[in-house]
């Protein structure tokens, strides 16, 4: 087969990684810029970093499971090239936001 399809979990959780990484970066900016957000995260699970980690890991797991279950359980169809591009872009974008924020903004 020329371009064999990836398993639905490979695609679903790969997309979930990309999205959760970007959300992770957005939460960094939000909590550092807003005292209200930071205080809410501190009181969530006792420490802002613990709340932050739990939110992002939870998002990854839930999103991955949801994306694998849509379309009657067939999941999302995506080529390997598109999945890899999305994953790599998500990781790079998130890293740029986080590093850029602490280097130039905070």
């Amino acid at each position: 087969m020329e371009n064999p399809a990836l398993a639905k979990r490979t695609i679903a959780f790969g997309l979930a990684v990309a999205i959760a990484c970007v959300v992770n970066a957005i939460i960094v900016v939000l909590k550092e810029k807003s005292a209200a957000v930071m205080n809410a995260m501190k009181s969530g699970l006792g420490h802002h970093w613990i709340t932050h980690s739990a939110l992002v890991v939870g998002l990854f797991l839930v999103l991955g499971a949801l994306l694998a279950a849509i379309k009657g359980g067939r999941g999302i169809e995506l080529t390997a090239g598109r999945l890899i591009a999305t994953l790599v872009s998500g990781v790079i974008l998130a890293a740029v936001i986080i590093v850029g924020f602490y280097l130039f903004v905070d």
């Binding site: 990836l6 398993a7 490979t10 790969g14 992770n24 006792g46 970093w49 932050h52 390997a80 994953l87």
Partner: protein
């Protein structure tokens, strides 16, 4: 004791990085006889990363405030303000990627070159990100050291 906890964090983080490197090479040469090993090592990489994350997180919330105070008063305040702040948030991404490794490894690695491509990319990113985290940890530790040197 707190130093032993910190070294455990480093040990398991390096273990994750080595497992990811192993995976990269093993997936490039995958065959039926090695798929089981690849899947086992991908679980190992994820497990090592979770241990590193939990142990490191525990150390961070319990003991780091002492080191932070030393760093901020010393000649390398960036070791906290820039390096630790980025490390504690980039490492969450590393945790997600390492957790994804056994999921991607459960695909048909022998018969599907696309599945192999995904594994190669993810294991490479995990190895590089783990190396970056290790480097950042070294800078943070050095920030503590230079903060303790006599002026």
């Amino acid at each position: 004791m707190n130093e032993m906890i910190l070294m455990t964090h480093v040990l398991f983080g390096v273990g994750c990085m080595l497992a990811a490197l192993w995976l990269f090479v093993d997936v490039m040469n995958v065959r039926e006889a090695t798929v089981g090993r690849i899947r086992a090592i991908s679980w190992g990489a994820a497990a090592f990363m979770w241990v590193a994350f939990i142990v490191g997180g525990f150390w961070y919330v319990t003991f780091y405030k002492v080191d932070k105070a030393i760093i901020l008063k010393g000649p390398w305040p960036f070791a906290h303000g820039k390096v630790m702040e980025t490390k504690e948030h980039l490492v969450i991404m590393l945790l997600l990627l390492a957790t994804y490794l056994p999921i991607a490894a459960s695909d048909n690695l022998v018969g599907n070159k696309n599945a192999r491509k995904v594994m190669l990319w993810v294991s490479a990113i995990v190895a590089l990100l783990a190396l970056a985290m290790d480097g950042e940890g070294g800078i943070i530790a050095m920030g503590v050291k230079v903060g303790l040197l006599p002026k």
